[in-house]
Symmetry: D2
Subunit: 330 residues, 4 copies
């Protein structure tokens, strides 16, 4: 075990915002890395709520055994209104002081990182962020923890829907998660051979969708799946289904909203390994004196991105991939 | 190979009504059993629509290879309005005559069997039914083909929802399939440790649900899943969520409708084996001169039930199981 | 909550012998049922080893939360040599006395039940058995806890093997678990369309296997899977592969032993519900004064079978099912 | 549809060498991309064997429907001895001429690409390679088609093994695929919290393994999984188990060889999307006049690598990842 000569003797770890598969793997990684470097690790339950209300528990390497493959977050997560207030953050600072916590690892998304930044500015608590969200929309990392699992869960579900769509010559509108980002929609659409994929990043029109239906009919395609991202600008799946039925009364149109199943489940290997790397990196980064940065992987290399940049910019959809989707739906 | 000395030289097989996982395994079994007994087998596509419109194709043992593990139905299914008319059934009878089909195997549910019965009365075409539906509500068999798969799909999904429910201390209302029957709801509720299970067979009241919430809070249960069958009399999941939120504004209440994912997917072993047995049984039954009956398994024994009985009666929910659910949710 | 007027105030629960998926669901059910009936419940870790060495821990309803869907057994299991000695059982009796345990629920197989019977005779500790084993070979219940999961795990794996077998026109010998019983082999063989299925209950000859290969070749079947139960009398998979390669040097022959993956994994719905019912039944049986019996389900009815009978007799393979396998492999 | 003004009017596609999940998705992509660009597409069955023996079939966009999610390769694969001879390749050239095939897309690994290169040199048939192998050891692409699926299959299986290992306090040696490369071993080891991971790229010693066991015991770890790559230099899993048992007779040591299950199964999203991109890229590359190159993705960018380079060099294991494994196993 290497000697820890840095000022960091105690690290607190918390999960914040919407939960994502692999958060437990990230927690485990932070705890074990702390142990490896001779740092005490505290788990803070319920995100920033726990910081405010002193829900703090010491975690040793054995307390995170058999955790790597579990969905959800054992530390629980929450969206804290109180932490948005100066008073809330002052209470949180007292908890940090009381436990002699030298730095935080914050596992979450944009909103959670913003909270951490304000807290750091006001109370001087260093932190490193680990991107945990299924939406994959955080700049500074190719993938976020939870995205690969959510994507595979969506595709497993759409595969099942396709079985019944094909058996009945039906048109299915399937809504997948992604409020501002079409990553899950685009990739799940390609992976399931969707007729059309509607994402927030693209200006889609209902006429384009109708053209797609007509092309499909010409080619003898008898059933179709249309993937729609949650944040799609054209309207929700129910409206799209209604308009389609009005235009093509002979179609047997159905709607499925995949919803929260996309947030749970045992993480895929990619998410477990990513979470493991970033958890270790966050601890090593804090030891090295870094703060206000997010740990991410870009082109298989570890990269620390200033939090401000990670929050401001966004991962962009690959235009080539949209073209591939177009070619393959023919 | 045994000699076939019966009058049955050619059998037609079709899938009708809502599709269910295992229908392909049943088709394969009928085709292979026909081959074994020296009978020609024809697949009729699109259910009774195919009978009306002469969508008939001969199937040999190799044409059903690699089919046993696929969801949906390769013969496709449909609900035929035309077959409900005398004229429609006359067209269907011509198709039967044209192809010298001596008997039919009808894979489907109540409605499909009713159609077969009328057709048999009017045109003298013998048939045997194979119960294929995810609802498990057909009398004369302990389980229907597709039920076990749908149930496991529902539980896989609810397990994922529980991950996120637990991480956020949420209350989730999850709607599962079952228009008139609570089999999927009751069993998936027990299997996922649901707080409460609302099924059409029971008179549930919203007050009982509220009592369950309060008991749970007393015991320190911080998240809850309530399973609601599609056909539940008390109202849909959205209404239940609304009333709950009105009563307990502090609850974080979410809704998920599992929907059509429950109809697809590779069948479980139980469904594959059941479909395999019943497909063989249907062919052997027709050879033995039976008609107007449904093949089913009761207590691991093959049973032929008169179709009229299968349609009139319904499988009943096991009262003991409701008590078990009650004991275990404490 | 009903009043408990029986003499049973404290129940100990343990898992013993080979572990099986669903044991955790059974433990949870025993703990919750005890709670429901006002009985204190103790978990005994490591099977009879824990009884000897006083590994006893009190379990409340919250201590078994989120346990129903986990593979393995949280109480751990072991095969105890010491419990086979009089001295060992005397130590165990002291532990029982020390904790005022009035009765035991023993989750396990034949060997575990034999141990319980001897212990009961010598030291007067009542017990009820819950059949937990993947082999499904225990008399007095249609299915044992863990069997359905193991079977589905085996079939998932064989489906994958079939993908590669078909891609390469290969012959695969796949060994599945079942030392004395062919339930997993026969059912997984039917469910995956195996060419041949070799089980301990049948006298198979290598010549019959060769005939099956030749029939398959005549019919143009280009790849084949042969399922072999662990306890098959004809020899292991490696020998069978060797003989086959000697007879047909042109075959591309491969071997896979599925092994311990069949013992783990999240239990299927059938196993969760079965475990839930039997756990409640065991507690209710002890309250009603029963002992030395095993709780089981036969034809969907709860049945208590004298342990001696459960040990002596064995579930028998369904001959009809062997015929179905034969018909469908054509 | 864009106009195809290149000389490429007809493309042949084949899968060669060991099969991998996602090959079907790649075939589909080649066929659909050809259709999109107005090129006729021929499938060649059984790899180079099919080229020699004229197993050629025209494929339209509908002939690859419902193929993207299937394991294995519908075109079948083979290792051809005859294609290694000049005579074999001459026969193959005749087939190419006979069907007016202008170029080939070869989906496979190192060996398959070598074959394509020689064939191109001798007979002037342009080709582009698509890396399809579970081993992930091909230079010029971050990931090969099939690797992500194989890795997830391995981890699913090891998760199950861990359930039973933990229940019994056992030591399991698990062999995963990877003849020359430790990618599956290293990543599955991290993802399952393995005690130790033995890969061909590292000089492991049995003493290091024993030290790992002793550290684990000191820390109270009661069960352990050791992942061993197929090509590990120290010896096979059976030998390692034997040596371990000799050193620690009190250990309950078990062995599992995961084997061919790692080659099958429905591909993950990553593999489906990768295969889709590379299939389109291969067709577009041929249209653009490229040949003797492999299409790959590096840092989410499409890259064509000269085949010679792809064959000579190898993807290297990430040293940082080995350190992460080391930190987390503590």
């Amino acid at each position: 075990m290497p000697q820890n000569i840095s000022k960091i003797k105690k690290i607190g770890v918390l999960t914040s915002g919407g939960d994502s598969p692999g958060m437990n793997a990230a927690i485990r990684s932070v705890v074990r890395a702390c142990n490896y470097y001779g740092i005490v690790c505290c788990g803070i339950r319920m995100g920033y709520e726990g910081l405010i209300n002193d829900y703090v528990v010491e975690l040793g390497p054995r307390s995170v055994r058999n955790l790597i493959n579990r969905g959800g977050t054992e530390l629980k997560s929450a969206r804290s209104q109180e932490f948005r207030t100066k008073e809330g953050r002052e209470k949180a600072a007292k908890t940090v002081k009381k436990h002699n916590i030298d730095a935080l690892v914050i596992i979450g998304g944009d909103g959670s990182f913003t909270g951490g930044t304000i807290f750091q500015k006001e109370h001087g608590v260093p932190f490193i962020g680990v991107p945990g969200t299924i939406d994959n929309d955080i700049f500074g990392t190719d993938y976020t923890v939870g995205y690969d699992t959510a994507l595979n869960t969506a595709v497993d579900a759409i595969d099942k829907i396709r079985d019944t769509a094909t058996s009945h010559n039906r048109v299915f509108f399937v809504e997948v998660m992604g409020r501002d980002a079409g990553f899950i929609a685009l990739n799940s659409g390609i992976a399931t051979g969707a007729l059309d994929i509607l994402i927030p990043e693209e200006k889609d029109s209902i006429e384009d969708l109708f053209i797609a239906f007509e092309k499909a009919q010409e080619k003898g395609k008898s059933s179709s799946i249309v993937i729609v991202a949650e944040g799609e600008k054209l309207g929700g799946v129910y409206d799209l289904a209604k308009f389609t039925k009005m235009k093509y009364p002979e179609f047997d149109v159905k709607v499925t909203v995949l919803g929260h199943i996309q947030r749970g489940g045992s993480p895929t290997v990619a998410d477990r390994v990513l979470a493991s790397r970033l958890g270790v990196a966050a601890v090593e980064g804090l030891i090295a004196g870094k703060s206000n940065v997010m740990a991410g992987m870009q082109s298989s290399k570890l990269v620390f991105t200033p939090i401000e940049e990670a929050i401001k910019k966004h991962n962009e959809i690959d235009k080539d991939l949209i073209k591939v989707a177009d070619i393959l739906s023919t």
